[in-house]
Amino acid sequence: MSTNPHSAGRSGLELSKFRNLPVILIVAGAIGAGLGVAASGKGVTQFAFSWLLAFMFALSLCMGGLFLVIVHHLFDASWSVPTRRLCEHLACLLAPTMLILFLPIAILAKTIYPWMRLTNPDHAVQSKYPLFTTPGYYIASAILFGIWWLYSNRLRYWSLRQDETGSADCTRRMRFFAASGVVLFALTLTLAAILWMKGLMSEWYSTMYGVTYFAASIWVTLPTVYVITLILQRTTVLGNLVKEKTYYMLGSLFLAFTVFWAYVNFSQYFIIWNANMPEETFWYVLREKGTWDVVGKYIIIFGHFFIPFVMLLRIDFKLKLATMLPLAAWAWAMHFVDLEFQIMPAVHPNTILTPGLLSDLGCVLLFTGVLMIVFIRSLNRHPLYPLKDPRIAEAMDVYVPPAAEVSVTPQGAK
């Protein structure tokens, strides 16, 4: 099946025990979502919101992958060489996979976004024209996917080209896409968060919103990449390439983004709390009702920030499977709760504990299964790491003399 020499002789991933996992996830997810939607009594509305939550969850991982690729090229780092290819695959899930998964949201947009249903849009919506108009919504969404497709695709294309040619030109081109991409990344991610998630309560203002979604996205991607790398290291040729420093750096960035996430979320809350203006505070007031209060004040502050923060302070914890694997699962759970907190008060104002929670979970499982299938197919189709990355030797802690030195010595010897 495989055409490249580096994955030949290793019939894909040796994870035969888990071969059916994606399908199981999809089936279990669909059943969970179906039951949840039926039990919630809200029908299509519940389905639309659950789907949106799962979409934003998956989008976090894909955007995180794109960000890590961009950052790799911008910083010209060696520790991220082994994880680059899998991050490229993660980013490439943005289009067409995520675009297809976006279609239910596009179709059900009127069910999801109250501002789309207004016959006489109020000032808060009008001031956001032309973005918050129905055509504006679809055009902006199309542009977002267009930009993501272009950048994720080009970055992987030149990376794969370099596997064949080894040309430095490929690195230069990837750097061009990384440097221009980081600006577009920031703009598109912010726009996506505002358009698809903040738009649920369009009267609200917060200039921090994009960056909070960014921080949360990278935060959940880092342990995910950590675990994927770990699995690949134990099962594939990647094992020869990954050194401790890769895990250490991923762990350190995980710690950094734990703090960064807390910082931007606190800043958003604190500024709104201090300014005390009704058009801003209502968003948080709604989230102090019923069980949302417990979610916001305790689960998120302690679960999303404090526990990972304290655990990641220690160097050795960042390197141990026994601490990082549970922490990665915990990060997924916390990101899920965080997105619940962002999205669901719009449809369940009083409590997080509704049958809808089951359909939210189901949709996330379903998305995970679908993305896993595409991701594993990409992994099997291409070399597992950038074969001719300029820093590949450095990543492996091997010293290779510069070309000039090599060519001079044999001549002198002869």
């Binding site: 606190f266 809350y269 604190f270 709390w273 201090n274 005390n276 302070l313 160097i315 050795d316």
Partner: protein, 176 residues
């Protein structure tokens, strides 16, 4: 004749001193150190040095700072001199967080700095090695392994033989 403080062995390359450090570690010495003109990667592992304890000092410092900040603001705003501002609660952890956070950083930094000085036994006015002329090369292009005579493993002959066998061209005793 003054008492000996340590035996000093000079090496010419980072690789040699790295190798020597590993062997000295394996021989079971405890009161010893390596001096190089620049950081040598992998030296921590070669010397068998474990993670520094400074982190604990900054952690305790940070916790102290955070608690101090919260308690101070609670005492001033909600206990000692109560003023209603904007209808907000007398004490809220959210309002008190930024100053407490600043104090966390400040006390954390104090903890790190003082902890480092404490663990390094600094400041001190003099160190026997500074008298040694050869040792000044540690800031230039030479690499040194220094084993103190107070080490339980130390023996004038065997330690010297070990350091010689590891490729040192120049070995001398450092006076107290």
């Amino acid at each position: 004749m003054p008492a000996s403080y340590a035996i000093l062995a000079e090496y010419e390359t980072p690789a040699a001193v790295l190798h020597a450090a590993g062997k000295v570690r394996d021989a079971g010495y405890r009161h010893w150190d390596v001096f190089t003109p620049f950081p040598v990667h992998g030296m921590d592992g070669a010397m068998g040095i474990r993670n520094s304890k400074v982190g604990w000092f900054s952690f305790i410092g940070g916790c102290t700072g955070y608690t101090t900040g919260m308690l101070m603001i609670w005492f001033m705003n909600a206990y000692d001199y109560r003023i209603v501002i904007g209808g907000k609660p007398m004490f809220s952890p959210f309002a008190a967080f930024p100053p407490s956070y600043e104090l966390t950083i400040l006390f954390g930094a104090f903890g790190a700095l003082l902890g480092m000085l404490f663990l390094n036994r600094l400041p001190r006015l003099h160190h026997p090695l500074l008298k040694n002329r050869r040792f000044a090369m540690a800031t230039h292009d030479r690499f040194f392994v220094v084993i103190e005579t107070s080490d339980p493993q130390y023996s004038e002959i065997e330690t010297r033989q070990l350091l010689e066998s590891l490729g040192s061209r120049h070995i001398e005793m450092v006076e107290e």
